[in-house]
């Protein structure tokens, strides 16, 4: 029996007995989402790159493949995963990366995980093997379910393989640092994002803004001259530490909130320590404030808040949905996972 058939069979018997399954890659992101329990459905054995022709800018990968290994293979060919995914541990797999849908600092300028998912092969809650999307850049045949599975935290289907668009590594990457207020940083981030500049990262903390530029050497040099600021030494390490939440800001036990807001929103008046990323569109907040206080403020700004790390993992970790929206989510979940066996409650208690 192939690994795929074995997984299908495990899903079928779990569905028959309505026993929940916890889908598991490298277990590096088990801190994320709500607590869930059930028998482990491991994708550990389902590894390897299925197809990779660098000139196609497409790579097909099995879900259990190590994210670091995949990135190393791409780098050797001068390419990268454009969404700069956080690993949160050496064991991180591509499947977990797609299921969690978490993108790194490059996201506002290059795109999110879902933007580069061209297709997936998966197993639905009936144990059926489905091929959704495809391996080509442009494909509008059938509903775009592969992007909907991205970020669904394994609550809709078991991801087996993914076809991803990749991009060339930039010829040059440089980071500029300037000291300013948070309000000025937000203003500059968004003014610059409205100009043809090769931005690829913009964050602010402790009184300093960090702006990364990526592209052809000539264009990056020209932008460095335009924007000004000091060059940051060891910038690669800096962005990696930001992405992996290894900067000192992220240490400690205080609950960590992820605030997703319109990028130009002025600094929010919430008690706690804040780090701005994504040019202002993603803000990390360390606070002991109650969830409704945080959400009230963020919702008023047109955004939503996620209890990213720490705090009560049985609570509403993700922003609660409006009743009609929740009902639609439930219907969708039911249509993909009728027995409700995939990661129940990981995203919302009702899913």
């Amino acid at each position: 029996m192939t690994i795929q058939q074995d997984l299908q069979q495990q899903v079928q018997s779990a569905a028959a007995s309505r026993s929940p399954l916890v889908i598991c890659g490298g277990n590096s992101k088990s801190f994320y989402g709500r607590a869930t329990s059930g028998d482990t459905l491991s994708l550990d054995g389902h590894q390897g790159i299925i197809d990779y022709t660098p000139s196609e800018l497409v790579v097909s990968v099995r879900a259990g493949t190590s994210l670091s290994e995949l990135e190393a293979v791409l780098e050797k060919e001068g390419q990268m995963l454009p969404f700069e995914p956080p690993h949160f541990g050496n064991a991180a797999t591509l499947g977990g990366c797609i299921a969690s849908g978490i993108s790194g600092p490059r996201r506002p300028y290059t795109g999110a995980v879902r933007d580069f998912v061209l297709g997936v092969n998966c197993i639905n809650g009936k144990g059926e093997y489905l091929r959704l999307g495809g391996q080509v850049m442009k494909n509008v045949a059938g509903y775009d379910l592969s992007r909907t599975l991205t970020g669904s935290l394994g609550t809709l289907a078991v991801l087996l393989d993914a076809h991803l668009k990749v991009l060339p590594l930039p010829q040059l990457e440089t980071t500029l640092v300037q000291h300013c207020s948070a309000a000025t940083a937000v203003e500059l981030f968004n003014r610059w994002a409205g100009q043809p500049l090769p931005l690829s990262g913009a964050c602010y903390m402790d009184g300093a803004m960090y702006v990364r530029l990526s592209g052809m050497t000539e264009g990056v040099q020209a932008a460095v001259n335009t924007l000004g600021g000091e060059l940051l030494d060891d910038a690669t390490q800096f962005w990696k530490q930001l992405r992996e939440q290894q900067l000192p800001f992220f240490s400690g036990e205080t609950p960590l909130w992820r605030l997703s807001v319109p990028a130009a929103t002025p600094p929010l008046t919430l008690d706690g320590a804040t780090l701005l990323d994504w040019g202002g569109a993603q803000r990390w907040l360390k606070t002991d404030l109650a969830a409704d206080v945080v959400r009230h403020c963020v919702t008023a700004a047109g955004g939503h808040a996620t209890l990213f790390r720490g705090g009560d993992r049985d609570s509403a970790v993700f922003q609660p949905l409006q009743p009609a929206m929740l009902a639609l989510h439930q219907r969708l979940k039911h249509r993909l996972d009728p027995a409700g066996i995939f990661n129940p409650g990981r995203m919302y208690p009702e899913l």
């Binding site: 933007d115 379910l145 409205g194 052809m216 264009g219």
Partner: protein, 484 residues
């Protein structure tokens, strides 16, 4: 409920001028840009307010009457083809740009706004909306969302799905949902992706928040000729492999070049077997560096001549031929049929050769003008609908080409949508479990199957019938029987 009763009910609750029901008034709505397929709807409803859309949907929902939404009717796959027992819901009067937010680089627009009007309005802020389907002057943004429209520049800037942030939609029950958000993501499932390209089968879009990008400082085009399509294909691959993502990378083969040249004076090299148009955009420094690299790559791939646009006027002239390709076909042949398959680029030469073989076999000329950079082919089959049987032969040839795309790992539609046109080929690309899953997804939104029924996803029954006549991988179901 009878046709008359439905119309009476619509007229009772909507202004008279918003409901068309006489055959002569319905005629302009009988087809979209795929004019080979025509049907008159029961009635056309042209609401002016969101409340009127809700009312129309509620009447249809209560009486189980199908609803087909329509923007500008420029779609190429019959997605806005009316349903004979349904109403056609025209969103043409929702043509307002509600707000442009230059700080957040977004625009909130109504679905009937044309694609190009968004960029025109954003230009004052140095911003534009990137997806640029060839019909951008006329096509509506609502239609772009329904089809997940692409265009020449999606190699670098993505499709509609990559360039929108939020939708306000009405379900068939008239319930309003906000999909996506004004931030870069939204809680819950990514329904924005699911709705984009859903061809009006899941919900009716009444407002769209699009992302705006900074206008590039400069754009320049390298035009190169090659003495074979294979060499041009190699040049495309080599360009991408060299680490450059052009803003656009288009290929015209010799029949296309000749057709265009008869139509307008392009200055395209007449002796070329294929030409490539490679657009690079960004800052002047970046573009100059990239042009140098592209020219080197093209030379190594065997380009017989190359020109770089020196100014905006020359860039427009280089593009003029590409943009005139479809009208040029219209002059060359009474009718043409535009295909839309996408393939992994590495199979380009093989697929083009097989398309040539098919063209000879069916005795129908084919021109190729397409988005080479992302492998999105647009073979144009030239035919004459007045010759009995020629449309049917054309459709069969088109079907063969799409099946070929699937065979090499591609798809039957890159950007035009399945609509009515490619519904049979969906049976080739997807198996029953996959198609059933799509139907199940629709059920979550529209359990009575009232929104654009019969399009995009074929019934399993239809596939069984199609499959019975279908030659799979060259094996006839009954090889002993003669077929004509």
């Amino acid at each position: 409920m009878s046709v008359k009763a439905i119309i009476t009910q619509l007229l009772a609750q909507l202004p008279e001028h918003c409901v068309l029901s006489h055959a002569e008034d319905l005629r302009p709505y009988e087809c979209d840009a795929l004019s080979a397929y025509r049907t008159l709807p029961l009635a056309v409803v042209i609401p002016e307010t969101e409340q009127q859309i809700r009312i129309a949907l509620q009447i249809c929902s209560e009486n189980k009457v199908p609803v087909v939404a329509r923007g500008s009717g420029t779609g190429l796959s019959g997605g806005a083809l009316p349903h004979a027992q349904g109403i056609l819901l025209s969103l043409a009067r929702f043509n307002r740009i509600i707000e442009i937010d230059p700080q957040n680089r977004t625009a909130r627009v109504q679905p009937g706004v044309t694609n190009l009007a968004i960029s025109a309005a954003a230009a004052a802020y140095g911003l534009y909306y990137a997806p640029d389907p060839s019909s951008q002057l006329a096509c509506s943004i609502g239609g772009n969302v329904a089809e997940n429209a692409g265009g020449v520049h999606c190699l670098k800037y993505g499709l509609t799905t990559h360039n929108i942030q939020a939708l306000e939609v009405l379900t068939i029950d008239g319930e309003q949902l906000t999909i996506g958000s004004q931030a870069l993501d939204a809680p819950g499932y990514d329904l924005l992706a699911l709705l984009t390209g859903s061809e009006g089968l899941l919900a009716i879009t009444i407002e769209i928040t699009v992302k705006l990008l900074p206008c590039p400082e400069v754009a320049q085009v390298v035009m190169a000729s090659f003495d074979s399509v294979n060499a041009a294909g190699t040049a495309v691959t080599a360009t991408i492999a060299s680490g450059i993502i052009p803003a656009g990378l288009e290929l015209l083969d010799r029949p296309a070049i000749e057709a265009v040249d008869k139509f307008i004076n392009t200055g395209y090299p007449k002796d070329a077997a294929a030409i490539l148009l490679c657009e690079l955009d960004g800052t002047q420094a970046d573009v100059s560096a990239q042009i140098e690299r592209v020219e080197r790559v093209f030379t190594e791939a065997g380009a017989t001549s190359q020109q770089v646009s020196r100014d905006e006027q020359e860039r427009q002239r280089f593009w003029a031929g590409r943009k005139a390709a479809f009208p040029a076909m219209g002059r060359l042949s009474p009718d043409y049929y535009c295909m839309d398959g996408t393939i992994p680029r590495k199979h380009l030469a093989q697929v083009l050769n097989r398309i040539n073989t098919l063209s000879a076999e069916y005795q129908l000329p084919i021109c190729n003008v397409f988005h080479a950079g992302d492998g999105n082919l647009h073979p144009l089959i030239l035919y004459d609908a007045n010759i009995p049987g020629e449309l049917e032969r054309t459709e069969e040839l088109g079907g063969k080409i799409l099946e070929l795309c699937v065979e090499v790992g591609g798809t039957i539609t890159g950007e035009h949508g399945v609509g009515m046109e490619k519904i049979n080929q969906m049976c080739v690309q997807f198996n029953n479990a996959e198609l059933q899953q799509f139907h199940d997804i629709k059920h979550a939104f529209d359990p009575d199957k009232l929104l654009n029924p019969g399009k995009a996803i074929p019934t399993l029954h239809r596939c069984a019938e199609f499959g019975a006549m279908h030659v799979h991988h060259g094996e006839l179901p009954h090889p002993e029987l003669e077929r004509f």
